[in-house]
Symmetry: C2
Subunit: 616 residues, 2 copies
Amino acid sequence: MSPKEEAPAAAATEAPKMAPQQQQEAAPVKTHIPTSKYSKRVVLKTLFSREDRGIGLSGERIVIGGWVKSSKENRMPIFRTFLKLFGVGTHAEKDSAGGLTYRAQHPVMSTVFLQISDGSCIDSLQVVVDSTLAPPGQILLSGTCILVEGVIQRPSTGGKHSIEVKAEKVLHLGVVEDHEKYPLSKKRLPLHTLRDWAHFRPRTTTVASITRIRHSLTHATHNFFQNNGFLYVQVPVITTTDSEGLSNKFNVTTLLGKTITEEPSNKPTSVTKQVSGVSLESIKASLKEKSNQVEELKRTDSNREALLAAIQDLKKTNELASQLEAKEKKEKEKATALVKPDKLDFTDDFFSCQAFLTVSGRLHLESYACALGNVYSFGPRFKAQTSHSTRHVSEMWMVEAEMAFAELEEAMGCATDLLKHLCKWVLEKCNEDMKFVLKRVDQSIVGRLQSVVSTNFEKLPYCKAIDILKQAKEQKFDMNVEWGVPLTEEHESYLADEIFKKPVIIYDYPKEVKPFYVRLNDDGKTVAAFDVIVPKVGAVIRGSQNEERVKGLSTRIKELGLSSEQYEWYLDLRRNGTAKHAGFSLTFDLIVLLATGISDIRDVVPFPRSYGKISN
Amino acid sequence: MSPKEEAPAAAATEAPKMAPQQQQEAAPVKTHIPTSKYSKRVVLKTLFSREDRGIGLSGERIVIGGWVKSSKENRMPIFRTFLKLFGVGTHAEKDSAGGLTYRAQHPVMSTVFLQISDGSCIDSLQVVVDSTLAPPGQILLSGTCILVEGVIQRPSTGGKHSIEVKAEKVLHLGVVEDHEKYPLSKKRLPLHTLRDWAHFRPRTTTVASITRIRHSLTHATHNFFQNNGFLYVQVPVITTTDSEGLSNKFNVTTLLGKTITEEPSNKPTSVTKQVSGVSLESIKASLKEKSNQVEELKRTDSNREALLAAIQDLKKTNELASQLEAKEKKEKEKATALVKPDKLDFTDDFFSCQAFLTVSGRLHLESYACALGNVYSFGPRFKAQTSHSTRHVSEMWMVEAEMAFAELEEAMGCATDLLKHLCKWVLEKCNEDMKFVLKRVDQSIVGRLQSVVSTNFEKLPYCKAIDILKQAKEQKFDMNVEWGVPLTEEHESYLADEIFKKPVIIYDYPKEVKPFYVRLNDDGKTVAAFDVIVPKVGAVIRGSQNEERVKGLSTRIKELGLSSEQYEWYLDLRRNGTAKHAGFSLTFDLIVLLATGISDIRDVVPFPRSYGKISN
């Protein structure tokens, strides 16, 4: 859809849907320019996406809102100021109530030229504000929010702008209280400095562009799966299943908020001691007494019935004692539960058991694939990784797909198609933002994305990858290359960036380096896993055909020493109508890196979280 | 797009994209029926969504896969069995390698009729399997997974089916190992029983239908916002900001896994005592000694330099002592941190501070709205609510929207449009599934959805709602109605179900019953919040215009005794270029309830989590 077609189409379809009341409110100004349906203004994209870049709208009245990116002030000669003060040449003071009109406080009048941006597109609009409308000292500061009513005109100052808006009324003004404290007052801050201001950085051109590209990629993802008949399934974030057998997981708990020491003090110090009105000590004493009694009765060979009764009594007391002892032991364990992690007791926790933030949704997705065929999921996944990396944060968005009646080859095909689709989408739909990225971030970005779209990915088994890495005599790796080692970022980068210079799919990994659920190949050593490695960004997709044979799966669970109990439901899927199936996870945040050429993942995630770093 | 158009279009666009290798694999059977791109089969929807329900495809070879929903066996007369055993009238045994062919183990041959479903649509397909192809005892069990190659034909048995597939080769068989243990062996299990089998229940017709409707509603949600110029923003799940000032939040921590008691034993018992080789006790002793010395020097009026040196020395020792004391105090506090929750110490936690699962993404979304205009978010939100409810689980998916330069009225307008859009979408796009829901779940469902689409919602301020509730003499409420009380589900239901019999929007609530961030109205008592209440389902949307004035906002934070520190970034948004803005949260899971007529939210959430309940 070309921008030219977009605007009139939107206008045509939106208008009839509006309730009469809304319509009245959404169009406070007489104009045929389509206003943003739910805010009283025209978004800049509506102007700048026209082929004439708004020129044909000259003379139209419009409400426009946004944040000041830069500004300048032109002071008027005293003589013009004098005329203005007496209302000649301005109609601002004729405005009725509703618009905020200011009388300039200094005798010298001025005109302020603001470049404002509203985030709807990369362009900013020049807004001309006379000092009679708002104090220049306030609106000149970058970051100021302003909503004005005015008239579109050809730029009074010439220059590169196609149009400007001459303000006639200021409808809202959100000032910058303290220029010194506003972080974006400085121009062109580096991205890593902006990270400390996650709540302000979308106001910068770069982060706004990244956000729009990210938005478009989300749309592209859903579009791909919708077009290919996949059903969307929302897999859980809180889970008891450790889908990768990893140790670096976040616990989800309400225990920390609980009054652990108070609990015992609410209850009697040792609850069990008071159970049935007797303490363990007194029971133990009576137990000894009764035992002596029985011995005595036995020895004296007295009345048989009395002996049996005594034995019975002894038995009961014995039972009671061991019950009490067990209870007391449990209480003690509970009390020390939180401080002795090897005995963590989660019966008091919210779910009555230990719960984590999910690392991957693929296992849950499988259960839906084994009922509904092709399914996908798109949501946040979590790893409590303490190492720092430019390609990893603690909370990442992942796209996961799972396909019944599919094998490794199909999963690789689907992953390849998705990746190509995403790159193509960005090139086709994010024209303006990609121009900016090309200019300011990465001059090779368009070429790289085009190459992902058009080249055939290199496909090679792990063993071949190892051979190539071994032959790399001139290249020193931090980690030695041997069959059986996991490939590091360094190895992957060497293969994709140096050797093949295009995306590489590596498959058939040794079983030791992949999760327990991956299907064992006939050689008994490798598994049907694959990774898609893209130059400069690394492994953006990891996938596999999963083990559909219950025996093989439970063997792997045992071999790895995982608790088979938590995987019972997962094994159940194999015991009842198992199907061959395959799938993959795509790290969405890495795709945004790929599409924008940004080098640190924390600059493309809206609110990044990492070890020791969380600020809102 | 009509189903008729869908299939050929898909075929036309899919074919050229395939790599040569894939193409070969994806089409193992010669047929012009479009196969599922990433699994070696034709999905049932492709057959049944044709206007002729597949009849025109009679005679075509096809691969089809799915799970057995029901079955029956027709034993053949001995004489036909005899012919079969010698290969007359069957070509199963002529098959080359690749297909699994079984020779029946009992002399009496039979034909098995399977109703299989693959989840792509509501229809199931009749597959006819000769006992020479697979042991009837295995494939007859419901839940069995089967992938067959066969020929489409008109039903041999007559009946309601349009077509059936006569199997010629069984490509995969996933048996049900233990019929007794397979939970779906019983027919028509009630939904609440199915909850214990979240991993199997999508195989039931009802849960499969719910899943497809849920999928379609997700698509509809994105579609609405895309069409209205909203940008999608992924707000964080892990947060330090308590967006509603609630106490029932989940903690996200890695502390529980840490060896808390071991830590002190690794370190010296009291670390500080050994710092710089001196213990606090010895320092204190030397402090006293030195102090005496100084006094002595002063008293004896001796050498001034010696006195100054001694004073200097005393000062230093004093400083050291207070440093050590402070350190020791901190250590002690740390050691008791986890067991004394009023002093919880999170410096050792993953983020070095307390972190929660987010309750709402609206505050984070605001920062993007105040830069990019109209934004939305769609993701999981969490409440550790211990009460049981049919409309609440601990993990729910929410759609949140935030709009700059918008006020209460626009937010209500947008919420209304979204709700109508979703209901309309389901009625238009989920035809087959809605027919099933209408028949089996709720006979009034279509009428109710149509009424949401076509009626004007009732809009009334809270005070008017209270007046109406007060006048309800015949109705007894558990909670008394007075101006200032929060409305309960019971009140809301009375208004929407009994009085207005259509969706009701209540607005201008007393400030006490709404979160701190809602904008205070001019009366100083009410706030610009609104709820959209739908008959039978309750409040599906809660929205508000948020306070853009920094003073009002920080006053509310103080009044409610919230920690202002965690809201600094949020207040910052008001200090720098604040804009009027409004938005809302829609509880997506409740929309699925609304669309399906199901009464318990746990039946529409794929893997529901609630107090004490989590199973995978």
